[in-house]
Amino acid sequence: MSDILASDSTYTEDERALLTRLCDLMIPAGEGRPSAADPELFNDILSRLSTHEALLKPALAILATLALEKLAASEQVTLINQHREAYATFFQVFESQVIQAYYANSAVLTSLGVNAPSPYPGGYDVEETDWSLLDPVRGREPFYRILGSGE
């Protein structure tokens, strides 16, 4: 989770509402996983986005004019996709931060069968290999280039 508090954010209420909507459109609830707009997740996302305000606010102002709230969810996604190229930097930053928050969330990780937020200290058990797999190779004569005298 980011060290920056969500309360440090200077996003306006309308901007927060739009960001919440975008989070839910990008990753809605499903497959037993929460929406990226889930309050705990959104707080984390907002914290991460707070360092990018100068970059994101102008694009947010334009996206606000799309009146997404008047459309069905699938139509909203279609409309967003139509604007991704024009606002590539905005979406690059937004998507990256949403993904970093979402896929580090413990509820999400648990649903994916990943039971710790970091590999260390628990590590993972990887089954010992049955090296009989190598039998077809073991019978092969050395084939690296063995140099003769003078080479």
Binding site: A73, P117, P119, L133, P136, F143
Partner: protein, 532 residues
């Protein structure tokens, strides 16, 4: 700190600097190593905390890290991006610990294949140093590989995991060679290092300390033997006297204070980019084009390896993010020159494990296969833990137009000129990449992959910088002699991968450390006549 003169001054505490310091320590000479970065605390490695896949402070590219101990590298026009780490351990902090040796043929490419140049030394000369280095680093693997010369192995191999087994099955189906990778990873406790826990992201540091980075292998022994290691000391230039002998260096400490350090012998160990940078920055009346640059070859003949990466997608989870990311298996099937192919020399195919959740999602979004909306989760489930890659590391022939030069405009945090990389992939490399990409796809198909990516060769990253201060017996065609001493400055040595004459088709760390041990031993055998 004391700047009293020392017998030996080593610049750089990475893979080669650590090895040469340890080897020279038994001479009882006063040895000092200056390192521009810090010691790294393994508790700070990303894999010890949340968000481990996306932290930038341990990013492999210095241009992404942007730490004050890093220096800018303009590689914007190069298809291969430069990777390094500035700190005690150097590149071994972030390397994948894939630990192959160069093959005997790699030292004789001109004689055997009519390309590149022959080295002035051969595999047999380096063999005892390879073995010594393996014992110091601790190498996991399996003896008996028919694709490589025989060697002693210290530790059991890294387990393949489901991903590795699937791909090994593909190689078997095709009748092609594969073998478990030789890996500088403690699969059992070794010399104070605990066993590997299969954390995954070795390339952002090993929190467990199982990976052999030189801060935990060579350095504790070297320091115990009396070597002084001074961190946060960035060398600006090597100084010379009127006779053209090196007298020491000028460096900046952590607070930007300038110091002069005198030394009887100067050893440069800053890798294939940092070494030419320092040599070119060391301008004097005696050496107006940079020290040791009478041949004009300092910074030229840069080799970064021809890389071809193909990702394969399977229909079931394969524990792809568990286990050392770069160490599973290799194939030497296409390593040696085959006259039936359209290129000379060859490549190693190496299996690279998959990403964790964040890495999978970021890649998926970047590749345009992870959508917004209700299909997001299903698409993610198709990607996560079901993918792995084959990376072909191909021999990159030395070409003089591939260079490291000083950047005329950009400087580091101490005002020292930074570097610019000018590099293109030659025709031989391009044909090799094309061949390797197609073979990798065949392997995935034979292994039952449901999809493969196009071959990726541009935008890939390489910490394998070689050739920019090559060794040789002819002073007009090389920078250092056959035991690492500058042709022109008799008390100046280079011990890192800059001295490589060819790049081979393998990761270079094992070989560059063997070379540095060999050079150290050569110095010890000639102590009475070192400057003759």
């Amino acid at each position: 700190m004391s700047n009293e003169p020392v017998d030996v001054l080593i610049i750089g505490a990475g893979a080669s600097g650590a090895a040469v310091a340890w080897s020279l320590a038994d001479t009882r000479m006063r040895i000092l190593c200056l390192e521009q970065g810090d010691w790294v605390n393994s508790a700070n490695y990303p894999s010890a905390g949340p968000g481990y896949e996306t932290r930038q402070d341990f990013a492999i590219r210095p241009n992404d890290r942007q730490l004050d101990v890093d220096y800018p590298i303009d590689d914007g026009e190069s298809p291969v991006k430069v990777v390094n780490f500035n700190g005690v351990g150097g590149g071994t902090i972030l390397y994948m610990a894939h630990f192959p040796r160069f093959h005997p043929s790699d030292f004789r490419t001109r004689t055997l294949d009519g390309v590149g140049e022959d080295w002035p030394i051969d595999y047999a000369t380096l063999e005892p140093y390879f073995a010594e280095n393996d014992r110091m680093m601790g190498v996991a693997g399996l003896a008996g590989d028919p694709g490589c010369p025989p060697k002693e192995i210290q530790l059991p191999p890294v387990p393949l995991g489901k991903l590795g087994e699937r791909i090994a099955g593909g190689f078997n189906e095709l009748g092609w060679h594969w073998w478990p990778s030789e890996s500088a990873i403690a699969t059992e406790p070794y010399n104070g290092r605990d066993r590997c826990l299969n954390l995954g992201p070795c390339s952002s540091g090993c929190a467990q300390g199982a990976k052999a980075s030189t801060d935990i292998t060579y350095w504790p022994y070297a320091i115990r033997a009396g070597v002084e290691l001074r961190t946060r000391c960035r060398v600006r230039e090597i100084t010379v006297d009127k006779k053209g002998m090196a007298t020491g260096v000028i460096y900046y400490d952590e607070n930007g204070i300038e110091h002069e350090q005198k030394a009887a012998v100067v050893i440069v160990a800053c890798n294939g980019v940092g070494t030419p940078r320092l040599l070119l920055n060391s301008v004097s009346t005696a050496f107006p084009d940079g020290i040791a640059n009478g041949s004009g070859l300092v910074g030229k003949n840069l080799m970064l390896h021809a890389m071809a990466v193909v990702q394969g997608q399977f229909d079931a989870r394969i524990d792809g993010f568990m286990g050392p990311i770069g160490c599973a298996l290799w194939s030497k099937e296409f390593y040696e020159t085959d006259p039936l192919r359209k290129f000379k020399r060859g490549y190693t195919m190496e299996v690279v494990r998959g990403s964790g959740p964040s890495g999978t999602a970021l890649n998926g979004m970047m590749m345009g296969v992870l959508p917004w909306g209700s299909e997001h989760h299903a698409a993610f489930d198709q990607l996560f833990d079901k993918a792995g890659s084959i990376c072909a590391v191909g021999e990159d022939l030395a070409e003089e137009h591939n260079t490291v030069t000083l950047d005329p405009e950009v400087v580091d945090s101490n005002g020292i000129p930074a570097v610019k990389i000018s590099y293109t992939l030659g025709e031989n490399s391009q044909k090799m990449i094309e061949h390797a990409g197609e073979r990798a796809k065949e392997v995935f198909n034979a292994a039952g992959a449901i999809a493969t990516s196009p071959t990726i060769s541009s935008g890939v990253s390489s910490g394998h910088s070689m050739g920019t201060a090559r060794m040789g017996t002819d002073p007009t065609r090389s920078v250092v002699n056959e035991w690492g001493r500058s042709h022109e400055v008799k008390n100046l040595f280079v011990v890192d991968s800059s001295v490589f004459v060819t790049s081979a088709g393998v990761n270079p760390t094992s070989t560059l450390q063997a070379v540095s041990l060999y050079i150290a031993d050569s110095m010890k055998k000639r102590l009475a006549t070192l400057f003759d």
